[in-house]
C-alpha cells in the first residue's frame, strides 16, 4: 500500500498540507495522516473569519482510533471552510488532497510556506518515522 505525495502542495511535519493558489492557502491533511488515523468519523472546523497564527490548533479530527488536532501551517484569516466534511468525513480517507480540503486562509505571511517540506523531503521524513 503506497501513499500519495503530490508535488503541488507543501507539507508540515505535523502532517498537514498547504497549497497556495496565488491568493489563498488551502489546508488539509496528508495521505500519511489519514492512513494513520484510519476511518475518520467526525471533523470540527474553524469558524469563518477566525484569525489564526501558524501552529494554532484549528481543526479536530476524530477517527475510530483516535482524536487528533490539526494545526494551521500559515497565519491569516480563515475565509472558507469545507462544510461538506461535517456530513461526509470519509472524504478525508478517500481524497485527502482534493475534496477533503479543510479550510482556506488569506495568508498574512507567505514566507511561512518556505518552512514547509516538499514532497520528497516529507516522504523521506515519514520513512524515517516508520523505521523508528
Amino acid at each position: 500500500m503506497s501513499l500519495n505525495y503530490p508535488n503541488d502542495v507543501r507539507y508540515a511535519k505535523t502532517d498537514e498540507w498547504a497549497r497556495y493558489d496565488g491568493e489563498l492557502v488551502v489546508v488539509g491533511v496528508s495521505d500519511y495522516a489519514q492512513d494513520a488515523l484510519s476511518d475518520v468519523v467526525f471533523v470540527e472546523l474553524p469558524a469563518l473569519g477566525d484569525v489564526v497564527a501558524a501552529g494554532d490548533e484549528v481543526v479536530t479530527v476524530e477517527s475510530v482510533k483516535a482524536a487528533a488536532e490539526v494545526v494551521t501551517p500559515v497565519s491569516g484569516e480563515v475565509v472558507a471552510v469545507n462544510a461538506a466534511l461535517e456530513d461526509t468525513p470519509e472524504l478525508i480517507n478517500t481524497d485527502p488532497y482534493g475534496e477533503a480540503w479543510f479550510f482556506k486562509v488569506k495568508p498574512s505571511d507567505l514566507s511561512e510556506l518556505d518552512a514547509l517540506l516538499d514532497a520528497a523531503a516529507y516522504e523521506a521524513y515519514n520513512a524515517e518515522r516508520e523505521d523508528h
Binding site: 476511518d39 468519523v41 475510530v64 482510533k65 483516535a66 482524536a67 468525513p89
Partner: protein
C-alpha cells in the same frame, strides 16, 4: 447467531403479570403525553427471563476469562468484598443520619482516608470523587485554588506529557485552565528540556502519570517534580497505575502534591460495566484546606465527625462518594495488609515483565521500549513482520476467537498500532503462557491466512461490527418494531 431484539419476541396481547380488576375509576393519560409510536414489547415473564439470562451468558468479564486490558487494571475482584459491602450495618444506614448513629461507617471512611494517605505518602484524602476522571477534576480545582491562595491567581496553564490519558487534558479544560502538551523523550520519560522550556510563571502545575501509560517508571520523576516546584508549580500524579508501586514507592516521597486513586482498578472493585467507580484524591498538607467538604475527622473525645476543610473547593459529589465501593476497597486493603499490597505490586510487575520477555523472545510483535523493564503493563505493536495489511484491530478481533478479552488497542496514541497489555497480579503462569501462545498463533495466521484475521471474530456472538458506521451514525434506539 445474533439474538432477536426483545421487540421482535413481542406478541400482541401477551402479558407477564395478571393484575386484579381495578377498583378505582380510571384516569386517562393526558393525550399529549401518549406516544403510540413507542413499540413497547408484550411478553410473558418466562420470555423476558430467558431473553436476558441468555444475553447475560454472552458477557465477558474477569470472572469468565483473562482480561489484559492495559491501563484498566482488570484484576480479579475477591468475593469477600461483596460480603462486607452487604453487611446490614452498611446497607441499612442513610448518609443523613446523625453521625452518632453511624460511627462504624464513619470509622471505615476515616481509616480509609488514613490508609490511602499512608500508601501514597500524602497527608490528607477525600473519598468523594466517583471516578478517576472526577478525581483529576477535583485535583486540578484544588491546585488552582491553592495557586490563588498563594497570590498566583494569574497562573492558567497545566503541562501534560503526550503519553497522558485523555482524561488529564479533559479535566484541565473542564476546570477552565489551558493544556500545554510536553513531549516524551526517546526513553519514554518526560523530555526535560521541553519541560524547562514551558516552565514559567503562568504554570499552575504538571499532570504526570507515573508509571506512565507506556508502562514505564519515569526515571527523571524526582527531577521533574523539583523543576516544577522551583517554577512555583504543583505536581498532579495520575494514580491510575498505582498497582505497580504499592508498598515500594510512595508518590508523595517523589514530590507529587496531589494524586487520585482508582479504587476500581488498584483496589479490586468492579468496573467496566460493573461499576460504579471511585476516585479518592490525596494531597500534601499545604493543599489539605482545599479538599472537598466534608471529610471525616476524629474528635478529641474519640468520636468520628464530619469536618469542613477551611477553604474547601466545595462538594464534588453528593454525600460521601460511592460508599459501597469504598467498603470493598477497604476490605481489599485490610485483607492484604502492608506486606500483601507490596506483593500485589511485585507480582503485577513480574507478570507483565514475563509477558514482555516472552514476546521479545518470540519476536513476532515489536515492543518499542522492550529494552527497559516494564512496570505492571507494557506496550507492544500489532506490526507483525511479514504480514502486510494486518492491523492491531485485526489481531484484537482474532483474540476474541481464543476466548480472551483483547488488550487495549491504539492507546497510548504515541505508539502506532499500540497493543497495551496489563495481565495483573492475579493471573497464573499458565494463563499468561496461553495468551502468548494465542498471540503467536495469530502472528502465524497473519502471514499464512490474513483473511482469517480480517474477518475475525468467527466464534463470537456477533461477527466484526461496523465501528465506522456506528461512530458516524450513532443511532442507539430501535426505531421501529
Amino acid at each position: 447467531m445474533a439474538d432477536d431484539f426483545i421487540y421482535e419476541l413481542s406478541s400482541p396481547g401477551r402479558v407477564g403479570v395478571a393484575l386484579p380488576d381495578s377498583d378505582v375509576p380510571e384516569t386517562p393519560i393526558p393525550a399529549d403525553t401518549l406516544r403510540p409510536e413507542l413499540p413497547l414489547p408484550e411478553l410473558s415473564e418466562v420470555d423476558v427471563v430467558r431473553h436476558y439470562v441468555r444475553l447475560s451468558t454472552k458477557n465477558y468479564g474477569v470472572d469468565t476469562g483473562f482480561y489484559p486490558l492495559g491501563s484498566c487494571t482488570m484484576k480479579y475482584n475477591p468475593k469477600i468484598n461483596e460480603q462486607t459491602a452487604r453487611l446490614p450495618g452498611f446497607t441499612n444506614i442513610h448518609p443523613l443520619q446523625d453521625p452518632v448513629t453511624v460511627q462504624g461507617a464513619m470509622q471505615l471512611l476515616y481509616e480509609m482516608q488514613d490508609m490511602l494517605a499512608e500508601i501514597s505518602g500524602l497527608d490528607a484524602v477525600t473519598l468523594q470523587p466517583s471516578a478517576g476522571a472526577q478525581g483529576e477534576f477535583t485535583g486540578v480545582l484544588i491546585m488552582r485554588k491553592a495557586q490563588i491562595a498563594r497570590g498566583q491567581g494569574h497562573r492558567d496553564k497545566i503541562l501534560i506529557p503526550d503519553s497522558a490519558h485523555g482524561t488529564n487534558p479533559a479535566s484541565t479544560a473542564m476546570s477552565g485552565l489551558h493544556v500545554v502538551e510536553i513531549a516524551s523523550d526517546a526513553d519514554g520519560n518526560v523530555d526535560i528540556e521541553q519541560l524547562k522550556a514551558h516552565l514559567d510563571d503562568t504554570v499552575v502545575g504538571l499532570m504526570i502519570t507515573n508509571p506512565s501509560t507506556l508502562g514505564l517508571f519515569d526515571q527523571n520523576i524526582v527531577e521533574v517534580c523539583r523543576l516544577v516546584h522551583e517554577a512555583g508549580g504543583l505536581v498532579y500524579g495520575d494514580g491510575a497505575n498505582l498497582n505497580a508501586i504499592m508498598g515500594i514507592v510512595r508518590p508523595g516521597d517523589l514530590g507529587i502534591d496531589v494524586m487520585h486513586f482508582n479504587l476500581h482498578k488498584t483496589f479490586s472493585t468492579p468496573h467496566g460495566g460493573g461499576g460504579p467507580g471511585s476516585g479518592p484524591v490525596g494531597v500534601v498538607a499545604e493543599l489539605a484546606p482545599f479538599l472537598p467538604a466534608p471529610v471525616v475527622g476524629l474528635s478529641a473525645e474519640g468520636e468520628y465527625e464530619w469536618v469542613w476543610p477551611a477553604q474547601s473547593i466545595g462538594r464534588v459529589r453528593s454525600f460521601h462518594g460511592n460508599f459501597g465501593v469504598i467498603v470493598r476497597a477497604y476490605t481489599y486493603i485490610r485483607m492484604h495488609g502492608a506486606v500483601g499490597l507490596r506483593r500485589v505490586s511485585e507480582d503485577a510487575v513480574l507478570n507483565a515483565n514475563y509477558m514482555q520477555a516472552r514476546l521479545l523472545e518470540l519476536g513476532d510483535y515489536p515492543v518499542p521500549h522492550g529494552d527497559r523493564y516494564c512496570m505492571h503493563e507494557f506496550v507492544a505493536q500489532g506490526k507483525i513482520a511479514g504480514a502486510e495489511g494486518i492491523h492491531t484491530l485485526d489481531i484484537a478481533k482474532r483474540l476474541i476467537d481464543f476466548d480472551y478479552h483483547p488488550p487495549t488497542i491504539y492507546f497510548p496514541l504515541i505508539v502506532p498500532e499500540a497493543l497495551m497489555i496489563e495481565p495483573t497480579e492475579t493471573e497464573s503462569k499458565e494463563t499468561l503462557d496461553g495468551f502468548i501462545a494465542a498471540l503467536t498463533q495469530i502472528a502465524d495466521e497473519a502471514r499464512s491466512d490474513p483473511e482469517l484475521l480480517h474477518t475475525a471474530p468467527h466464534h463470537a456472538p456477533t461477527r466484526r461490527l461496523d465501528e465506522v458506521r456506528a461512530a458516524r451514525q450513532p443511532i442507539l434506539a430501535k426505531t421501529s418494531a
